[in-house]
């Protein structure tokens, strides 16, 4: 590449540095900020990607970002029934089941049964379930609810409670006791790699 003049040695060094830079996983950073800063949360829900600028996470460039909020009345789940659209440019790789045909079929045919069978989520009947089917130009993720017993925790601590599944609606953010149990069992936290543009 250098010989052909496509890149300089400095370009390559820069790119290598970018790809190997250790950064906390953006999913945790974004959600923890939204849990602790109402203004940021509103901006995230209103403007999507634009709100990420101040956070120092990869903003990504693929499509429009829409963040949907889980509340006491609404549980959101994300799918791409056509393929596997996902804000991978911000959150990294998807879990394997996200691309699996059984998920992509069942989640829009019988969503309650699907989240119960696949993720052991039993949604109360008074919770409205919304399934978001992306077709490439809009990429979605879920803002999970802040777990109980997390008052006074720092953003860095809160970020550890955020799982990949909780951003798709396939789970909840961890409670502190669940995180402690995982740490005691030496379960490595999920840290998908994000490849910067």
């Amino acid at each position: 590449m250098i010989k052909r003049g496509w890149a300089t040695r400095d370009d390559l060094a820069q790119r290598w540095k970018q790809l190997h830079e250790e950064r906390p996983w953006a999913g945790g950073v974004i959600v923890a900020k939204a849990w602790t800063d109402p203004e940021f949360k509103q901006a995230l829900l209103d403007t999507g990607r634009e709100a990420l600028r101040e956070l120092g996470v990869h903003q990504g460039k693929v499509g429009k970002l829409v963040v949907v909020e889980n509340t006491e009345k609404t549980h959101n789940v994300i799918v791409c029934t056509l393929c596997s659209c996902y804000p991978y440019d911000i959150l990294g790789d998807t879990p394997w089941w996200y691309k699996h045909e059984s998920y992509r079929t069942n989640i829009v045919q019988n969503p309650r049964a699907c989240v119960k069978d696949m993720f052991q989520l039993e949604l109360p009947s008074d919770i409205e379930l919304r399934v978001w089917d992306s077709t490439s130009d809009v990429r979605y993720f879920v803002l999970p609810q802040r777990p109980e017993g997390t008052e006074g925790m720092s953003e860095a601590e809160l970020a550890k409670l955020v799982t990949v599944d909780s951003l798709i609606g396939a789970g909840y953010a961890l409670e502190p006791s669940q995180l402690r149990a995982r740490q005691a069992a030496h379960v490595e936290p999920e840290m998908p790699r994000v490849r910067p543009d």
């Binding site: 969503p111 919304r130 490439s136």
Partner: protein, 93 residues
């Protein structure tokens, strides 16, 4: 936001074309010929990372689950659909 390029507004009742109207093919089969309501208006989006060209305005259309599947739970499916796939219908007609 006053979006003059988009024909439909949030809350408008729409029907998805049954056949591809010679437009963007990325509309899932299970919503073709089905009725829904405009949930989000995105306007014209550029997505040069994914495909070439600029497509018509995009909407997120809310469907009752019972409209698109045999399941009768009171839940909803929200799907991104481009404008050429949609036509107006009278609400509850």
């Amino acid at each position: 936001m006053n979006d003059t390029t988009s024909k439909y507004n949030i809350g408008d009742a729409v029907m998805v074309a049954a056949e591809n109207p010679n437009g963007n093919p990325r509309t899932p089969r299970y919503i073709r010929g089905k009725r829904g309501v405009i949930g989000l208006v995105h306007g014209v989006l550029e997505n040069v990372r994914d495909h070439r060209g600029i497509h018509n305005p995009l909407y997120t259309v809310k469907f009752d689950l019972s409209e698109v599947s045999t399941c009768h739970d009171q839940d909803s499916i929200w799907v991104d659909v481009h404008e050429e796939w949609l036509s107006s219908v009278r609400p509850d007609s």
